[in-house]
């Protein structure tokens, strides 16, 4: 656990609310917080708390019903269209083409980002190597294990060297070896300046990974700060303790 590294904003969220069509309640209600350049912000909460909705709004996949999201480049407010090429998105689903090889998937998404050769091929080679997939680059993803697919899912999110990386459960369903490979790479990238907004149900992993924590429940922020501060404030021993303390033990879905 480290303290927040930088105080310059990269994203400023002001009072966003989201209600899906035909829904009776808000998925997010008046949510406001800041994301600082170079930090690893963890967003946690029970199922249905609004974590995926929040990440989807921040990454431009969903529009908010009300409120504002402002992005900053070099401390200057930036249009979302300008920030979009600098965003990387690693969804919870395997957003991949299982019928294509690992290399073909990376090449396709790289070209969609506007990358050109030889830079693109070098990038593909680097990502496959660092994620331990260089020996299976020409194999179709349908033959991959869950852990291998998860690593390719991450690699595609990193193909454009994003400044802001949204990670929605990046290690769900993977073995300990894949998890270590993924978390090591993410820490390395963060050390080089990539800002990360991360959700997970692996709370032990999150404790070690995140600089700052945002706890959501029923679409509202119920706590925000560094994990040390939150634990002290609520007299809890771990992130899991803290979540149970703040959201209760009742099942949510």
């Amino acid at each position: 656990m480290t303290e927040s590294k930088n105080t310059s904003h990269i994203i400023k969220v002001s009072g966003i609310t989201k209600r899906y069509p035909k829904a009776e309640t808000n998925s997010l209600s008046e949510v406001s917080f800041d994301v600082f350049r170079g930090e690893k912000l963890g967003v946690f909460g029970p199922n249905g708390a609004g974590k995926t909705t929040l990440i989807s709004i921040l990454s431009g996949i969903l529009p908010q019903t009300s409120g504002e999201v402002n992005y900053f480049i070099d401390n200057e407010s930036a249009n979302f269209k300008k920030i979009l090429p600098k965003i990387g998105f690693v969804p919870q689903d395997f957003a991949l083409y299982q019928e294509l090889t690992a290399t073909q998937n990376l090449r396709y998404f790289g070209k969609m980002h506007g990358l050109k050769n030889p830079e693109l091929e070098q990038k593909i080679s680097f990502l496959l190597t660092i994620l331990g997939l260089d020996h299976v680059g020409n194999r179709k993803l349908a033959t991959f294990s869950g852990g291998m697919k998860r690593r390719i899912n991450l690699a595609i999110g990193l193909i454009n060297d994003p400044e802001i990386l949204f990670l929605d459960e990046p290690t769900v369903g993977v073995d300990v070896q894949s998890k270590v490979a993924i978390m090591t790479l993410l820490n390395d990238l963060n050390a080089k300046g990539t800002t990360m907004i991360y959700t997970s149900h692996h709370l032990r992993e999150a404790e070690d990974f995140c600089d700052r924590t945002l706890l959501l429940d029923n679409g509202r922020i119920i706590a925000e700060g560094t994990l040390n501060d939150l634990l002290k404030q609520h007299n809890a021993e771990s992130l899991e303790d803290l979540l149970i303390h703040l959201t209760g033990k009742a099942l949510r879905d």
Partner: protein
């Protein structure tokens, strides 16, 4: 351009991987067009090339039964086997057990019955002319056959063939009756037989029917099973693309690939256009292969050759518009379907319904009026109208205006609805 090229390559790789989809799109229509053309061509030959097997049980004690048998043989539409002395009660068994499609039963008093009728008419005519009619014993009337000849069908024989057979028989019996009546008339006037000059005239058939298809131009096209089936089933095959393209779209959406593309500026529309381009290529190659088979392969297996339309630009336009209509419909189904099963099920059933009401299986003109109106809603009907104008009537631009306008409107509507849905889902 790089994005479009990358999307194009991705679509081609996905398509090549989808072996079942490729088989459905290329092999299924070929099988369909072969099978349907061979079956329809066989049906045509069945009637026109002496292939309708008929058994005639001729129990007639007079000469007219033999005349009927001879007329049937002369007609050239039947393969005839003649038997005598078989009881009427055995006819059904004989038909079902044998390899004949129908059995014609000529009763023992066939000649007597026809002669009695002829005699009555002859007497009436002579009486009308003021001539004295000999008072004959009316024994014939008492023995008159009420039912005449009987025709027993194998139940598998379709109604259209039954009607053809009955009409043929009716014509032949009418001819025999007419000749018998004239013979009787001459006999009553004291002649032993019909004078040879009159007989010659009677045997002549001066009223010939010349059947000719209505064509706009001077084309040598002859409407046949190939000219009907190749365009019809090519259209059906193109629209069946809904299964491959529709489920491909749903799969990408459900896998999250579309969501990922949302976070890459401008990439989604490139991906969609590439999809449309690849499937347009598939649809047009489907057409080219089907037409090439009709032109080059059909004659080798004894089927009529496909004659391509002489107006090449209208032909290309209708081909492209049909392909675009098929792809746009598939894209719309893929956009609205929530699961691959929905896209496949709804897509396939809707195409079968469109084909049925659109006249692919049964021509629209045999449908009741309200169905003819409904058939105009089917895009397959307008594709077929366009192709039939070209392949059967050698039509030109004027005749194609209706299909062209409808197909453009249909394509635009499907694309609008698909884009509207994608916009609502925030993909574009």
């Amino acid at each position: 351009m790089e994005r479009f090229k990358a999307s194009l390559l991705k679509e081609i790789l996905l398509l090549l991987h989808d072996k079942v989809g490729l088989l459905l799109m290329y092999l299924m229509p070929l099988l369909l067009v072969f099978i349907i053309t061979i079956v329809q061509d066989s049906a045509f030959r069945l009637v026109n090339e002496n292939r309708l097997d008929i058994l005639i049980v001729n129990n007639d004690k007079g000469r007219l039964g033999d005349s009927l048998v001879q007329s049937m043989k002369n007609a050239g539409s039947f393969r005839i086997d003649v038997k005598k002395g078989i009881d009427e009660s055995q006819l059904a068994k004989l038909t079902l057990e044998g390899s004949k499609l129908a059995t014609l039963f000529v009763p023992s008093n066939f000649t007597q019955s026809l002669s009695s009728n002829s005699q009555r008419i002859s007497d009436a005519m002579l009486s009308e002319f003021g001539m004295e009619v000999e008072q004959r014993a009316k024994a014939g009337n008492k023995n008159e056959v009420q039912g005449g000849v009987k025709l027993i069908f194998d139940p598998v024989l379709q109604e259209s063939f039954q009607v053809t057979l009955i009409n043929n028989l009716q014509t032949m019996i009418s001819g025999i009756e007419s000749k018998e009546m004239i013979r009787q008339l001459y006999a009553d006037m004291g002649y032993d037989e019909i004078p040879s000059k009159i007989l010659k005239e009677l045997n002549r058939n001066p009223t010939k029917i010349v059947a000719k298809p209505a064509m706009s131009g001077e084309s040598a096209m002859i409407p046949n099973s190939t000219q009907h089936n190749v365009p019809a089933w090519s259209i059906f095959a193109m629209f069946f693309m809904v299964i491959s393209l529709g489920s491909n779209l749903v799969k990408e959406r459900l896998s999250g690939s579309f969501v990922r593309l949302q976070t890459i500026p401008g990439s989604f529309l490139h991906a969609m256009f590439a999809k449309i381009a690849v499937y347009s290529f598939v649809a047009l190659t489907q057409l080219m292969i089907m037409f090439a088979i009709g032109v080059f392969v059909f004659p080798l297996i004894g089927l009529p050759k496909l004659n391509l339309p002489s107006h090449i630009f209208p032909f290309l336009l209708i081909s492209v518009l049909s392909a675009m209509a098929a792809i746009s419909y598939a894209a719309m189904v893929g956009t609205y379907a929530k699961t691959q099963e929905q896209a496949n099920g709804f897509g396939a059933i809707s195409i079968i319904i469109f084909a049925a009401i659109g006249g692919i299986w049964v021509p629209s003109f045999v449908m009741p009026d309200y169905m003819v109106m409904i058939s105009k809603l089917s895009p397959l009907h307008w594709c077929l109208e366009g192709f039939y104008s070209l392949f059967l009537k050698d039509g030109s631009w004027n005749q194609l205006m209706g299909p062209v306008i409808y197909l453009i409107v249909f394509t635009a509507l499907c694309q609008f609805l698909a884009l509207w849905k994608l916009r609502r889902q925030h993909y574009i």
